[in-house]
Amino acid sequence: MNNMMSVLFASGNEAKLNELTLHRTTASLPFGGRYRLIDFTLSNLVNSGITQIGIVTRSNYQSLMDHIRQGRDWDLNRKNGGISVFPPFVYNSSKEAYKGKIEAIYSIFNFLNHAEEDYVVLSNCNVAANIDFEDIYNFHIEKGAAITVVSHKGYTTSSQRIVLEKAADGKITDVYETEYVGTEEKLISGNIYIIEKDLLKDLVQKAYAHGLVDFEKDILFKLVAEGKAYTYELTGYAAIIDDVKTYYAESMNLLNYETREALFGQEGKIYTKVKDSVPTVYGEGAVVKNSLLADGCVINGTVENSILFRNVRIEKGAVVKNSIVMENGVVGKDSSVSYAITDKDVEVSEGRTISGFSTYPIVIVKGKKV
């Protein structure tokens, strides 16, 4: 029996994802041709034997609910444990949805109390990686840490990222938050933590009583200062997605064999909502190179260096390059799409040209017709 439960925050890091999270939470952002970001987190938890999972939502959670349903696709429709989704709640006197993680955790104390497990995995849903939480739990216990922060090497971006510095034994020696674009590789927090449940409740209760809202600044930073925080560095592949640029870059990263192996070729499979699409059909006019295609597509044009989600139609003479076409997208006859991210249900009409740039991919909002 596993001694861990989990609380997921569906809505972190939304600010810089612009149009991509206009209609959805970060957790339900489509990624990798047939997944949503939360699929990686949920699959990792399930593969690590963690089946008591609460998901805290803040806004736009309808697409997330539709994706998760009863949790069956992750084998989480359980009698004991399984998924509990917490819709946005108004807990404070200002009648607003929760301001920060502290308030959010405070409001689900009942859920924490009812669970048998003694340790909690707290996680945002913006990291695509294949993680074994069993290893991190063992690390946490072995170090006698108050909190263990899962981290990965990367760069600071214009999006708010937490940078760690650590000693040889994994103890965090410094921590800071930055939005400064750096060129030097740093240890970046994946916003995934392991902490003992009683300690978490204690810290949150005290912080909440003092009107504090920011879990990172008001709790994590203090634990670092006290020398009680450790970091577990993921040395394999991990994509931290917190703005359009990282979303695009990490998507394109999936065209590398090694990245796909690290993410999908491991013992722990990545599960997602089953849609029963038919296999992808290649017609006479299909010319496809270096691309990732989900089931249900119909290809009659050219596709290069791109990712096509389920049920995308590329018509005759159409050319799609360096782009991401989400579910049910249609690229019409003789049109051209390059360096673009077209959201779900976007239709590019016949003969249109859409072009962004490698460092600034153009985003077409869900359901629009170009």
Binding site: R72, T272, P279, V281, Y282, V288, K289, L292
Partner: protein, 401 residues
């Protein structure tokens, strides 16, 4: 006893060995053989059943049942994990002092009379697990009820030349059957039985018991039950079906049916039908990747594949790898297969999880093969084919023979 009445219960005969599929059915029963890029043959009758609004289905297994038991599980992929009803795998079992294998199709149902009785149905739908087709059984059931029939048999109009290969129903102008002929030399009609029956349960139940008492009976629907009912003057009707239907009991028909998936307009077998989805157990594989050197035309490719070779008129099942320089034409590459560099594969079926080494040549020559004039080459499941191997046209390799 716990029971909820069901109007109609489906019984799927999935015990067939399928000897004519050779190495493909050495380790699995025929209904478990992969089909159409991501399905198994049995997905078709099961999906038809649930799409027709019938939510209770017994799957009768006997030969190599393990794979099927695991595949069907609790029936969840077909939405058949129900509180009342759902999918049940029914292998032969010990009863009191006796216990025996299913002796024939009718005996298999006879041995499960108790299972059917639990649901106290008005009608029982008998299906077989080796046909590819999409059919709304509820229309057939309406036809059965309207005629006040005791038994309704689905029939397909075949050409008169083909008719002597099938069980043929001779009917009057109201489609009432007066005679059944198994593989007649001089067919009087072209209405071929599709192996799909609806019986009024009360009637069938009585005939199954009577048939079991006859020690000389082969306990077969076509050979015994239907002739017995006709002899007694029961009301048997032929229900004419006019869509795509194919018995995939042989290597060439299995190959042809896969090719039909590639050409839905001409074949009439369209799997991309939102109103009539075919469901399959999901394998949790990532999208397929198409490499820099790939060339894919008029083919279907499923999830989890890695393709860097040339693929023409072929069906590539989930999790297959096709390396650079390999050329695959008019072929079926089943799940988890690995095709090495510079292989030449034409008019062939490569069994699941087979590993084909570099530079192998399998099947007919790549130059100007005409469909239908070549025998299909088969590489058995799980087989490891050394590099530079040659498998000639019509040859079957692998298996433990």
């Amino acid at each position: 006893m716990l029971s909820t009445k069901k109007e109609c219960v489906a019984m799927l005969l999935a015990g067939g060995q399928g000897t004519r599929l050779g190495v493909l059915t050495q380790e699995v029963a025929k209904p478990a053989v992969p089909f159409g890029g991501k399905y198994r043959i049995i997905d078709f009758p099961i999906s038809n059943t649930i799409n027709s609004g019938i939510d209770t289905i017994g799957v009768l297994t006997q030969y190599q049942p393990f794979e099927l038991n695991q595949y069907i599980g609790n029936g969840q992929p077909w939405d058949l994990d129900r509180l009342n009803g759902g999918a049940f795998v029914l292998p032969p079992y010990q009863k009191g002092k006796s216990g025996e294998w299913y002796k024939g199709t009718a005996n298999a149902i006879y041995q499960n009379i108790n299972f059917i009785d639990r649901y106290n149905p008005e009608y029982v739908l008998i299906l077989s697990g080796d046909h590819i087709y999409k059919m709304d059984y509820s229309d057939m059931l309406d036809f059965h009820k309207k005629n006040g029939a005791d038994c309704t048999i689905a029939v397909l109009n075949v050409s008169i030349e083909e008719a002597s290969r099938f069980g043929i129903m001779n009917t009057n102008d109201k489609n009432e059957i007066y005679e059944f002929e198994e593989k007649p030399k001089q067919p009087k009609s072209t209405k071929a039985s599709m192996g799909i029956y609806i019986f009024t349960w009360e009637k069938l139940r009585a005939y199954l018991i009577r048939d079991e008492e006859d020690k000389d009976s082969q306990n077969d629907f076509g050979k015994n039950i239907i002739p017995m009912m006709l002899a007694d003057g029961q009301k048997l009707f032929a229900y004419e079906f006019s869509g795509y239907w194919k018995d995939v009991g042989t290597i060439s028909s299995l190959w042809e049916a896969n090719m039909d998936v590639l050409n839905p307009k001409s074949s009439g077998l369209n799997l991309n039908d939102r109103g009539w989805k075919i469901y399959a157990r999901n394998m949790a594989e990532p999208p397929h990747f198409v490499g820099q050197n790939a060339e894919i035309k008029n083919s279907i490719v499923s999830e989890g594949c890695n393709v860097d070779g040339k693929i023409v008129n072929s069906v590539i099942y989930h999790g297959a790898t096709v390396e650079q320089g390999a050329e695959i034409k008019d072929s079926i590459v089943m799940p988890g297969t690995k095709i090495g560099k510079n292989c030449r594969i034409c008019h062939a079926i490569i069994g699941w999880n087979a590993v084909v080494g570099e530079n192998c040549v399998i099947g007919a020559p790549q130059t100007a093969p005409v469909k239908g004039e070549w025998q299909i080459a088969v590489v058995g499941p799980e087989m490891e084919l050394a590099k530079n191997s040659v498998v000639t046209e019509g040859q079957m390799v692998g298996g433990n023979k």
